[in-house]
Symmetry: C2
Subunit: 175 residues, 2 copies
């Protein structure tokens, strides 16, 4: 059994021509889910990290489990308007139009070393916006972790160009 | 240090007169977060449970960590239109209008014993809709777990009336 083999592909979702990589089949499998979290935990247990930041909503799933196994706090980055305290926001480009994510201003200490977590790396737009948020409030992104990389969409190259280290558990080419 | 003392209250959010109980201050505290997850894990480690189901989005945070500690799979219940596979849906009442949550039809086995998880119990509307979804696809809700109960809003009474067992780590009266 491998992490990759448990990820289901749903053709033509959310629109024709897109091969959607669905991690819910991995998460719902107890052995697969444990493989996924243990692999991430083993990678990061020797890193100097202060806090885990997860991006809404699927990034919460891995991020929260990793925060527990690594004995760190968990901080959510959410869609605009979902966090009740004082926030910083960051707009980013979508295929059509823009979106905004937010983070509580007091969520991390200045100088905090952050592991940023999301399920999937496609264009890299959300990950770069999340990194910008973390930096706006004085954090430092040590690395970004994803379950899935879609290298043909170009996000990994953008992260490299931005000087960010990243780790992806699996890779689907041809997307 | 207690779980309750780490939950921040934000007055007049999302609208005047509401005392918003903000669990992000609990989650971002490494000791508090561990207290929260360990308490839930200790409660459920002797329960006969097959799978953890978490409600989007904050229910993913506790649910995913508990799935890991309890060695179960994790299944997300999401807002309408967010799950890529075949889903069942359930509408429920909001203060004004309605909302719909969805779950993958093949997310759990028939007869599966489910622990349902969300961060906060207020009216109970979302929790009851989530339970209905689980039952539509043949699951059985063993118990529902929340970090916060707001008993004055009446959700806990509705769960009791529906015959559901539930557990809340903390309680804020006067809401």
């Amino acid at each position: 059994m491998s992490i990759q083999s448990l990820i289901r592909t749903i053709p033509d979702y959310p629109k024709p021509g897109i091969m959607f990589r669905d991690i819910t089949t991995l998460l719902q499998d107890p052995v697969g889910y444990r493989l996924c979290i243990d692999d991430l935990t083993q990678r990061y247990m020797t890193y100097d990290i202060d806090v885990i930041v997860g991006i809404e909503a699927r990034g919460f799933i891995m991020g929260a489990a990793m925060a527990y196994t690594l004995n760190k706090g968990f901080v959510p980055i959410r869609k605009k308007g979902k966090l009740p305290g004082d926030v910083v926001g960051q707009e980013y480009q979508l295929e059509y139009g823009t979106d905004t994510i937010e983070m509580h201003k007091d969520a991390i200490e200045k100088g905090a070393k952050v592991l940023l977590v999301d399920d999937l790396l496609a264009t890299g737009g959300t990950a770069l916006a999340a990194a910008a948020l973390i930096e706006k409030i004085g954090g430092k992104v040590v690395e970004m972790a994803f379950i899935v990389d879609l290298p043909d969409i170009g996000g990994s190259k953008k992260l490299e160009a931005g000087g960010y280290a990243y780790y992806c558990q699996t890779e689907f080419e041809g997307d």
